[in-house]
Subunit: 346 residues, 2 copies
Amino acid sequence: MSIITIVGAGMMGSAIGFPASGNGHEIRLVGTPLDREIIEHARKTGEHLTLKRRLPGSYRYYQIEELEEALLGADLLVSGVSSFGVDWFLAEILPVIPETLPVLAVTKGMQDTEEGKLIPYPHLYAQKLNRKLSLNAVGGPCTSYELADHDPTEVCFCGEDMETLRKIKALFEAPYYHISLSTDVVGVECAVAMKNAYALAVSLAVGLAERREGVPGKEHYNSQAALFGQSVREMRKLLKLVGGGDDNIVLGAGDLYVTVFGGRTRKIGVLLGRGMRFEDAMAELEGITLESIVIATRTARAVRKLIAGGKATAADFPLMLHVDDIINNGKDVNIPWGSFEVETQL
Amino acid sequence: MSIITIVGAGMMGSAIGFPASGNGHEIRLVGTPLDREIIEHARKTGEHLTLKRRLPGSYRYYQIEELEEALLGADLLVSGVSSFGVDWFLAEILPVIPETLPVLAVTKGMQDTEEGKLIPYPHLYAQKLNRKLSLNAVGGPCTSYELADHDPTEVCFCGEDMETLRKIKALFEAPYYHISLSTDVVGVECAVAMKNAYALAVSLAVGLAERREGVPGKEHYNSQAALFGQSVREMRKLLKLVGGGDDNIVLGAGDLYVTVFGGRTRKIGVLLGRGMRFEDAMAELEGITLESIVIATRTARAVRKLIAGGKATAADFPLMLHVDDIINNGKDVNIPWGSFEVETQL
């Protein structure tokens, strides 16, 4: 039996312990300062407040002040924070853990730099830390509640060292949770970051159809498929520009597929497609700043710098730039369909 | 004004005339011997019997005996037949048209050869004909009724000669119908053929969830996304094996997306996922032989020959082989989730 300490008791942080728990490992779920209620509720009821699922019996619960106890004898630390918790995790958690304790982050996304680079979180952590840790991350299409329900799921763990990845995989691999491994951290994380912008883009087509037909309209798929195809085209280009392997489009397309169908990224895309302005759409979502909007903005900012630096052209990323214009520059939805046309001469 | 003669008055054959009609061209819709009722009904009512849409005023209607009249002065011949009509089209139509008349086929799919090659229809036609024709084809995600409704749609016309493709494009390009062009006929047609097997595969996940939860169940997306991702992986491999350009995955993914959501391929995948045997599922669909089943079978047969010839391994195509086992070898649905795992070492 191994001990897995998860810091960050949000939905995904909490759900990823399910397959490891089923493998007989002890799961110690540590709430961040924002998770107090979740931890209290779980202690009292055995249920997760936002995931709305019963947590496995092998889960133990800790408030952040009990972190030291939760880390005692741990074999793996999971970062369960969202991208909004990355700075906190970097400042408060990574400096106090043993250097021998490997880390697996569920946090998706990247940070962009002044120079237009996109840096995956494991690399960001490594740059900012004065210590050498084994920093690994999870990519791929996985919604937390379906994972908690044991739905068949395929993800990818990435990190510098294949042997370490194999050991971490052994803790989690389950009949319903399948794990590919990759040392291409930039490629995996980039694929997973980009899909935020593109899931919003594909969802625009749903809203555009509803604008013509009323709500709720019948779904129209030609237009969604056109945007899905263009998303795949642009994701492949961006993967190449950041130096990620081309085969990561498998993760990007799968993750795009799952994101188009669920949650708030789709919802805001649909509202925008109907003709609502970005500020009003965000207000409709009760002003919660969406992780996907932040990540889409960063990705678009990096793309604009790549274009400014002559490494790409605006014609390479018409859809990404349009999404950015909508969410950051106050533009109306006006899909540049014609700009998706290409001529391929053998 | 140009004259476009469409032979084959099925849904897609009839719908592709809409954008050209909007551009002011004359559309002559010629029924095959199987389309008599559609032509009669259209003449009487101006509506299409199966597409269930009013046809544009510039459409003229012809029974097959009136073909010669329909071809008089024509600038383009569209083949609107399905893959079941390919032999008929080759025997009855292509030998009697002027050599100067370019052809555009909406027929999707390929034929496999004894040696395990996949031959796109334009090449098949060229091989079997004793005359030199300009043979072009349409690929990409497009359902006929959405095209008839002027939904935004992106497709790709492919053929040997870019200049000819540009001329054909000029007839059809519309604010809602966008056309990429490609001389990579094998790549475009292969991408479009493969998606039939994979749309069935992704739909299995819907049925599998319903098997656990009852019908209609809630949709589960992790498992669909896992199958979608694996489909993209295998499609890229097959594209490479047949010598098609890698960027055609844009068409393959888009076409897969649209096919997962509509029609009988999804329906049979869902029924199989629920646990129904293939014969029973086909019976439920009233015994209509599905074009997609035929194309999936051909593609799988070619893949098995590639494996037998040492050009690929079974590990390259676990999902395609499983679909083939279900539809052709009487196997139960038992998705080989674990075989989708890969290790990527930089």
